[in-house]
Symmetry: C2
Subunit: 224 residues, 2 copies
């Protein structure tokens, strides 16, 4: 197994799990469930002292220095695409790995953008509309977060329109790449919020396409 991935699918571990599955990589999946305190054991903290999932361990040969430990979910996805995808510049059109400086720039900028402009508010909507026990939900927090999300979603919608104008159906290219994976893995938290998503038809259609992919569907099925 070239990789070990820690974290359940219903967590940010989706991001490296999805990347590895897209690439057809064999990996060991350790179902570290943060809800049961498993991210606070001494063993886990030795891997990630921040006490968060995911963690990816890339088992490289000793000649290359041995195991590489990656955390931060976006870093994990980008790393897997880079070191376990197709060599940059030699993409055959089906890999998620950025194949040109421009594709790589898109992957980098949109993955950071997702963390700085989208993730917190998307999580608030998810928690206070769907995930938390009903008595603990605060609908006004979800409403405020939803309103703020219009700002980044306008940016993404305009980008997808530009991409279509140049004949490309995805964020970084005319194929699904790790850039799409990084953004979709967060926006899926608000996909059921029709009052938001219906304002952004290109984004909605693009997201639907990402989530219909075999790799994502296979992961969902395995964890069901």
């Amino acid at each position: 197994m070239p990789l070990t991935i820690y974290g359940i699918l219903a967590s940010r571990a989706l991001r490296p799990l999805w990347a590895a599955t897209e690439l057809g990589l064999p990996f060991e999946h350790v179902q570290t469930d943060y809800r049961q305190g498993y991210t606070r054991t001494p063993e886990f903290l030795a891997l990630n002292p921040n006490g968060r999932v995911p963690v990816v361990v890339d088992h490289r040969p000793d000649s290359e220095g041995g195991d590489v430990v990656i955390w931060e979910s976006m870093a994990c996805a980008l790393y897997i695409a880079r070191y376990h995808g197709t060599v940059a510049g030699k993409a055959d059109g089906t890999t998620i790995t950025p194949a040109t400086p421009r594709e790589d720039a898109e992957a980098l900028r949109w993955s950071f953008w997702t963390m700085t402009e989208v993730e917190k508010d998307a999580l608030t909507v998810l928690m206070h509309r769907f995930s938390m026990p009903e008595p603990q939900r605060k609908p006004e927090l979800a409403d405020q977060a939803e309103r703020r999300l219009h700002v980044p979603l306008r940016v993404l919608e305009a980008h997808l329109a530009q991409q279509q104008a140049r004949g490309e159906a995805h964020i970084a290219a005319d194929r699904f790449t790790v850039a799409d994976l990084c953004v979709a893995s967060v926006l899926l938290w608000v996909r059921a919020t029709r009052t938001l998503m219906d304002q952004f038809p290109l984004t909605s259609a693009w997201l639907k396409g990402c989530l219909a992919r075999d790799a994502y569907q296979a992961l969902k099925k395995k964890s069901a």
Copy 2:
């Protein structure tokens, strides 16, 4: 000029400016001052619809698709190191570009970590202790943010101790890389907060070393 960098030094534009200066790259510096509304002009929004600095434009030859536009400060710094540094695997020991998968993993995970675990609280300390006009400051916000920062700084301090144990003085390697640049460019906001930094002697010494570098000093001097 291979690059154009938008944004004043006293902004997140420090990150790509520092990266380009470390690499000795010529670049055009457009002093887009966010404080004067210059990030809200139609021209600027065409470059970055998020209306934020920095923006980096990499002027690549038409044969490679022409200009590549990058935003999100950490993405900008990582991109410059990757595409304008030394070819990975052939580092001569003085480049800031990650030279191995492990060094690249460090650069990716610590740059995301800085954004998700450190930046917001560090900015709160900076604003409410130093930057805002005194009547607008709320010292209790700075105090709370400072207390929260102990958590990530404990993680960084332990990592630097591990690095020293393996004979490496920096975050990703035995030399200054873009990983150090990304983290230091945020921690410098709290370097004067002795009640915090004195708890973390390895981090303090490492940060001092980063900020003493010729490239950083040259940038400070130019903008003074």
